[in-house]
C-alpha cells in the first residue's frame, strides 16, 4: 500500500493527470502545420518569382604599382571622396574619434580604418581656396604619401605626373576639367552632374569616346546591391508594364537646401575668384556664391542637375530607358527666398511613350511610361521611390519591396487562391540581412518601413562611393568598363538639362532620338537659356 501512495494510477488520476497531453499534441501539431503552410507559401512565391538576389561581382585586384591620383576640388564632396580612397583629414579623424568615444554605436571611424587599402597615392591637390588646400597638405603629407598643391588644374595636369584625377568642383567646372584631363591622358572620375550645359556634354562625350582612359561618373549607387536585384526583377517581368515611376527629394533642412557653412578665412586674398567664376558671368567677390554655389544656375544646376540626376541614374541603371522623348518641368522658389535663382520645389515629368518593360496583358498595352521626379526642399516626409507596373509595385531604396497589384493579370489566379495577398509584400530583399523573405507580416512591414531591417552595424556596411572608386581603379589596373561611363553620363546630363530648360522656358522640351539632339526651340540659344541667372525666362522676350 505504501507503494500505491507514491504513485496513484487510478483511472480518475490518470485522466486528470494526463489531460494536458492531448492539448500539447494539438497545439504542437497546429503550430507545426501553420509554419509549414507559411513556409510552403513562401517557397512557392519565391519559386514563382525566381528573383536572383546575388551580390555584384567584386571589382578586380588592387595589386601593382600604386596609382597616383590628383584631387581637383577639396570641398565637402572632395573630402568624402578622399576618405573613400583612404585619406581622411586630421580634423575628421579627431572628430570621429571623439564621436566614437561619446557614442559606441558610431562606427564611422572603425569602418574607415577597416576599409581595404586601394593601393593609391594622393599626390596632387588643386583647390582655389588656400584654406582647403592647406587642410589637404597638412593631413596627407605623411605615412609615405607626398602631396603637392597646384593652383590651377592645367598646372596639375601638366606637372604633377598623376595617373588619374578626381573632379569634385562646382558643376560649371566638371566638363572643362574632365575634357582637359582626358586630353592630357589622365583617367577621370567626375562628380555628378557630368556637365553643366549642353554643348560641353557633346564635347566631353567626343573626347571620352576617343580616349583610351577610364572615365567614370560619380553615381555610386550603381554599386548598391538592391539595384542589381531590381534589375533582375525587371528582367523577369515581375512588375509587368510599368506606366509610372515616381522618385522624390524630400528635404527640410539648411544643409539639404545648400546653405553650407561660410568659412571665416575666405577673402579675395585666399580665394582665386577669377578661377572660381570660370565660364560663368563675372560678378564681384561674393562668399555666398563661393560656398553656396549650388543655389545659382551660373555654377550649379539646381534640383534638376544636382539631385534629379541621382534618381534618374538610379532608374536608368535598372531600366536603361535612356533620354526621355519629352520633358515638362514646373516649380519655383517657394521655401528659400534667400536670393537663390534655382528652384527649391520642382516637378519634372519625363515621357517615354514608346518604352516598354514587358507585359502580361494582350498585345498593344505594353508601351508608354512617365518618369516623375518630384522635389521639395521644404518638407522631409519620406516618400519612397516607386515603380508602378500593371502586375506589381516595387518600392526601391536600400531594400527592395514588391507588392502584387490587386488587379494584376499575372497574379490574378494566385490572388484569387489567396496564395498572394496584394496588401502585404510578396517579396522583400534586404542586402543588410542575410537572405530573402516573402509573405511578410504586417509587423515585418512595419519594421521594414522604419528602416530597422537594414541598419545593422556589424561592420558589414560598405560605403558605396568606396566601391564605385574601387571599380574605377580596377578598370584602370585590370581593364574593363566602369558601370557609369560616358554613355550613362551623357544620358544623365542631357535629361537633366532638358529638365532645367523646360523649367527655364516654361515649355515642353523634346528629344530628337534620331539625330541625338534636343529639338531647337524658336531659335533660342538653349545653353544661354539654361545658364541664365533668371528664375524663369519670358519666352516672348527672347524670341
Amino acid at each position: 500500500m505504501a507503494e500505491n501512495k507514491k504513485y496513484n494510477f487510478s483511472r480518475r488520476n490518470l485522466l486528470k493527470g494526463l489531460a494536458g497531453l492531448p492539448i500539447v499534441g494539438a497545439v504542437w501539431w497546429s503550430g507545426a502545420k501553420a509554419s509549414k503552410v507559411s513556409e510552403n507559401e513562401k517557397e512557392f512565391i519565391l519559386e514563382e518569382l525566381n528573383i536572383k538576389a546575388s551580390p555584384p561581382p567584386p571589382s578586380g585586384s588592387m595589386a601593382g604599382d600604386p596609382i597616383k591620383i590628383g584631387i581637383i576640388g577639396f570641398g565637402i564632396r572632395g573630402k568624402q571622396l578622399c576618405r573613400s580612397l583612404g585619406f581622411a583629414t586630421d580634423e575628421w579623424l579627431t572628430n570621429m574619434k571623439k564621436s566614437a568615444e561619446e557614442n559606441p554605436n558610431d562606427k564611422r571611424l572603425e569602418e574607415f580604418l577597416d576599409q581595404e587599402d586601394l593601393n593609391v597615392k594622393l599626390t596632387a591637390i588643386c583647390d582655389i581656396f588656400d584654406y582647403q588646400a592647406g587642410i589637404a597638405l597638412d593631413s596627407f603629407n605623411k605615412d609615405g604619401n607626398e602631396i603637392k598643391r597646384y593652383k590651377t588644374h592645367e598646372e596639375l595636369l601638366e606637372k604633377s605626373g598623376v595617373d588619374a584625377v578626381i573632379i569634385a568642383t562646382p558643376d560649371h567646372w566638371h566638363a572643362p576639367i574632365a575634357i582637359d584631363a582626358l586630353l592630357a591622358g589622365k583617367h577621370v572620375y567626375v562628380e555628378k552632374p557630368m556637365t553643366h550645359n549642353i554643348a560641353e556634354t557633346y564635347r566631353l562625350k567626343e573626347v571620352a569616346e576617343s580616349s583610351d582612359k577610364v572615365f567614370q561618373v560619380g553615381h555610386q549607387h550603381r554599386q548598391t546591391q538592391s539595384f542589381l536585384t531590381a534589375q533582375d526583377i525587371i528582367k523577369k517581368n515581375i512588375l509587368g508594364h510599368i506606366s509610372l515611376i515616381i522618385t522624390n527629394t524630400n528635404r527640410n533642412d539648411d544643409n539639404g537646401a545648400w546653405q553650407y557653412h561660410i568659412q571665416e578665412t575666405a577673402s579675395p586674398k585666399t580665394i582665386d575668384w577669377e578661377r572660381f567664376i570660370g565660364n560663368a558671368p563675372m560678378v564681384p567677390f561674393n562668399k555666398e556664391h563661393f560656398f553656396r554655389w549650388r543655389k545659382w544656375w551660373a555654377y550649379g544646376s539646381g534640383l534638376s542637375g544636382d539631385l534629379m540626376t541621382h534618381d534618374y541614374d538610379r532608374i536608368n541603371c535598372i531600366l536603361k530607358m535612356g533620354i526621355p522623348d519629352t520633358v515638362t518641368t514646373s516649380g519655383g522658389i517657394y521655401t528659400h527666398r534667400d536670393g537663390r535663382n534655382v528652384p527649391d520645389v520642382l516637378q519634372i515629368n519625363m515621357e517615354y511613350p514608346n518604352f516598354s518593360t514587358g507585359t502580361s496583358q494582350d498585345p498593344g498595352k505594353e508601351k508608354g511610361m512617365t518618369f516623375v521626379y518630384s522635389a521639395t526642399l521644404g518638407n522631409q516626409y519620406n516618400r519612397p521611390t516607386v515603380l508602378m507596373g500593371h502586375d506589381g509595385t516595387m518600392e526601391l531604396g536600400n531594400s527592395v519591396t514588391l507588392y502584387a497589384d490587386p488587379r494584376s493579370t499575372r497574379y490574378a489566379d494566385l490572388i484569387k487562391a489567396k496564395k498572394i495577398n496584394p496588401y502585404v509584400p510578396m517579396y522583400q530583399y534586404d542586402p543588410a540581412a542575410d537572405g530573402v523573405d516573402a509573405v511578410t507580416s504586417a509587423t515585418a512591414k512595419y519594421f521594414a518601413d522604419k528602416g530597422l531591417l537594414w541598419t545593422y552595424r556589424d561592420g558589414k556596411r560598405v560605403d558605396s562611393t568606396f566601391l564605385h572608386l574601387r571599380e574605377w581603379l580596377s578598370c584602370i589596373r585590370n581593364g574593363g568598363k566602369p558601370s557609369c561611363g560616358i554613355q550613362e553620363g551623357f544620358e544623365e546630363a542631357i535629361s537633366a538639362h532638358m529638365g532645367g530648360l523646360s523649367y527655364k522656358l516654361g515649355r515642353r522640351i523634346e528629344w530628337d532620338r534620331e539625330n541625338q539632339q534636343i529639338v531647337p526651340v524658336n531659335g533660342i540659344d538653349l545653353d544661354e537659356a539654361l545658364l541664365m541667372n533668371q528664375e524663369v525666362i519670358n519666352l516672348d522676350r527672347i524670341t
Binding site: K5, K6, Y7, N8, F9, S10, R12, N13, L14, K16, G17, L18, A19, G20, L21, I23, V24, V27, W28, S30, G31, A32, A34, S35, K36, S38, E39, K42, A433, G435, D437, A442, T443, A444, Y446, F447, K450, L452, L453, T455, Y456, D458
Partner: protein, 162 residues
Amino acid sequence: MYNNLNKAQLNVLVLLRIFIGWHFLYEGVLKLYNPSWTAKAYLMSSEGIFKPIFTKLASDSIVGLVDGFNIAILILVGLFLVLGILEKRAALLGSILLLLYYLSHPAFPGINQGPTEGSYWIINKNLIEMAALLVLMYFPTGHYFGVRRLFNREEKANPQTV
C-alpha cells in the same frame, strides 16, 4: 496549499495555467518550425532605457543563441504549464521571459510601441501575462489537475481522491 481553495477556485486556476501554457507552447512551436524566424528585428527596434542591451543582443554573433533560448524557454514553459509539472519553475521562467519582452518595449508614455493590438499606458499584455504567471507560481494546481497528480505522495491532501 490548494486545500484552502474550493473546487471552483482550483478549476479557474487550472484554466489560467492551461491557457498560458497553450499560448507559450504555440509561440514556441511556430518559431521552432520557421527557419527564417529571428528576434533580430524585434530586438533592433527596442526602445527605452534598456535599448542598448537589447540591440546588443541583436548583433549577428549573439542573436542565434538568443533565438535558441527564446524558443526553448517558450516550449518548455508551455509544456510544463499545460502538463502540470514543474509548474512553479516554469511560471518563474516564463515571467522572467515576459519581463524581458516588456523591458525591450516598455509601455511607457513617449516610447514607441510598434504594432500593438490595443492601447496601453505602462501596463500592457506582456506585463499582465507575467503577473498571471506569478499567480500560478504561488498557486500551483498540478497536484489537482496535471502530471503532478500521478506522483502525489500525500494522498489525503487531495480532496478528490478521498
